[in-house]
């Protein structure tokens, strides 16, 4: 049996990245993810890997671009305002098909907002986020264990699709400590026959997203769109709890899903038939399972720490026939089991 240990959420992302063979980290301090950067500043150089604290989140994401283009597994981490700054670089990487991992430990916006945890970047993360037609697989951990596991998965999926991949967690999860099972390091990394690592004994390679001739650009986009369609078919992940007889389904991710789990358990003790659908990938979104639940006549409670951003995806999946209620907080305020339980009580 593997060793259990206590670990902070942000640290678990860092350690997950190290286990996944992350060879370089570039980052800029921003609360609430500073411990991730600080942890990398010690761990990576000690392993002979690259750590660099950059002059800005802009520089960080573009260093990730440069490093990733050479075939190195690499990442940056940031929080919401910094993530906004990184959209241009992420768009370039999506366009140039350069894989990387970006961890966004969300805080409350808009603007400077608040350092409290939040889920207000849902739209930004699941709709591409920057300019142009692109999507990113977005993984939403709900525990410290998943901070590690999904970070490792993020590196795998980034390479599989040659696309930036997001780990999207709220600041509360990032700051929390839980016990986890340590994972084994990834033994071998996939070969990258596209990387620019010096044109020794071969034709030169080019990594870019620019087409001088406008006729060529739609072709490139079509290839990208096919890739996103494959993600939708192959990469949907979710956890369902007590869904079989559920008359009410709570849909929640991240730390809100943890509050939802407590509310669900309390509701079950009160004989309410409540289940939980927790998206693990928010892009691609588990639309089919929600649509199937809607067919069975379930009512839905969407619990999230934003103005109701995931609510839109749930509405698209469920349609207009079923009752959908939003329970939410925003502005850096945690969502409590009480609030969700109250909604269950009202809906029952």
């Amino acid at each position: 049996m593997s060793e259990r240990t206590l670990m902070g959420g942000n640290i678990a992302i860092a350690e997950g990245a190290i286990l996944a063979g992350c060879g370089a980290y570039f980052g800029y301090p921003i609360t609430p993810q500073n411990d991730l950067l600080e942890h990398m500043s010690v761990r990576l150089p000690a392993m002979g890997r690259v750590f660099l604290q950059t002059e800005s989140e802009l520089a960080a994401i573009n260093m990730v671009y440069g490093a990733a283009a050479t075939g190195v597994r690499c990442m940056t981490s940031t929080s919401s305002p910094g993530f906004s700054l990184q959209q241009e670089g992420i768009s370039y990487m999506a366009g140039a098909e350069v894989p990387c991992v970006v961890a966004n430990i969300m805080r409350a916006g808009p603007g400077l907002g608040n350092i409290g945890g939040a889920q207000g970047d849902y739209m930004q993360c699941t709709r591409g986020g920057g300019h142009g037609d692109y999507y990113l697989i977005t993984l939403a951990p709900a525990s410290v264990q998943e901070m590690m596991d999904l970070t490792m998965l993020a590196f795998e999926l980034a390479d599989k699709y040659r696309n930036p991949t997001l780990v999207m967690a709220d600041g509360f999860l990032g700051q929390s400590v839980e016990s986890i099972v340590m994972r084994e390091p990834v033994k071998s990394l996939p070969p990258k026959d596209w990387a620019i690592d010096g044109a020794r004994g071969r034709d030169r390679r080019l990594i870019n997203s620019f087409e001088m001739n406008p006729i060529d650009h739609p072709k490139r986009i079509r290839l990208l769109l096919e890739k996103y369609e494959r993600m939708r078919l192959e990469e949907v992940r979710y956890e369902g709890m007590l869904l079989d007889d559920a008359e009410i389904v709570i849909v929640a991710y991240g730390s809100a899903a943890r509050a939802a789990m407590t509310a669900m358990n309390r509701a079950r003790k009160n004989n309410f038939k409540v289940g939980l659908l927790r998206p693990i990938t928010v892009f691609p979104f588990p639309s089919q399972v929600l649509s199937d639940l809607a067919e069975k006549g379930s009512k839905f409670i969407v619990a999230e720490m934003s103005s109701g951003q995931m609510l839109e995806d749930v509405r698209i999946s469920v349609g207009n026939q079923n009752e959908i209620k939003l329970v939410n907080t925003y502005g850096g305020v945690p969502l409590t089991p009480d609030m969700i339980f109250e909604a269950i009580d009202l809906m029952s």
């Binding site: 608040n114 999860l173 929390s176 943890r258 789990m261 509310a263």
Partner: protein, 176 residues
């Protein structure tokens, strides 16, 4: 058993630290645990809380709205926590700073002059550990010896600090 514990006070009062000790001791006894700090923007002196779950089962919410055990280290923390503690729950009040008394009959409220007692064992900086001792004396959430083992590990390089903390813990435990 699933223990939900909330500890609040000023930043700098060691609120996060005693939460951490509880979590580490719970973890060492094979329980599921979670620890969540929650604070305002200031690095020092702002309002600070931490939420600790110690459970035999998979833990749901990492944020706690109705604790089984609450520790209020200052008046603001008391005002926030006192109404929210579960019926039959335990509320440890830092009597050195909080002058109010709870009117809730369904609550075990314990008033502890943490600063004075901490001075008695040597230094007021361990007032938080006195409060932790008071928790352990009233609720079988983790054993005192398991907390001492955690302290032994954490402070192995600083014997005087270790002895001070142990003395404070035992002093807090003595309260009945």
């Amino acid at each position: 058993m699933n223990w939900e514990i909330t500890i609040s006070g000023f930043g700098g009062q060691g609120v996060l630290f005693i939460g951490r000790l509880l979590m580490e001791a719970g973890f060492a006894s094979g329980q599921q645990v979670s620890w969540l700090p929650y604070y305002s923007g200031e690095k020092r002196g702002g309002m600070c809380s931490c939420f600790v779950n110690i459970s035999e089962e998979r833990i749901g919410s990492i944020f706690i709205s109705h604790p089984d055990i609450a520790v209020a280290m200052n008046p603001a923390a008391y005002a926030m926590l006192e109404p929210d503690v579960k019926p039959d729950g335990l509320l440890i009040v830092n009597e050195s700073l909080v002058k109010e008394k709870s009117q809730r009959p369904d609550l075990k409220a314990v008033y502890v002059p943490t600063v004075e007692l901490a001075k008695e064992v040597g230094d007021e900086s361990v007032a938080n550990i006195i409060a932790l001792g008071a928790v352990l004396a009233r609720a079988p959430v983790v054993t005192t010896s398991s907390v001492i083992r955690v302290l032994n590990q954490m402070m192995s390089k600083n014997k005087p600090q270790l002895e001070l903390n142990k003395a404070a813990l035992l002093k807090g435990c003595e309260l009945s």
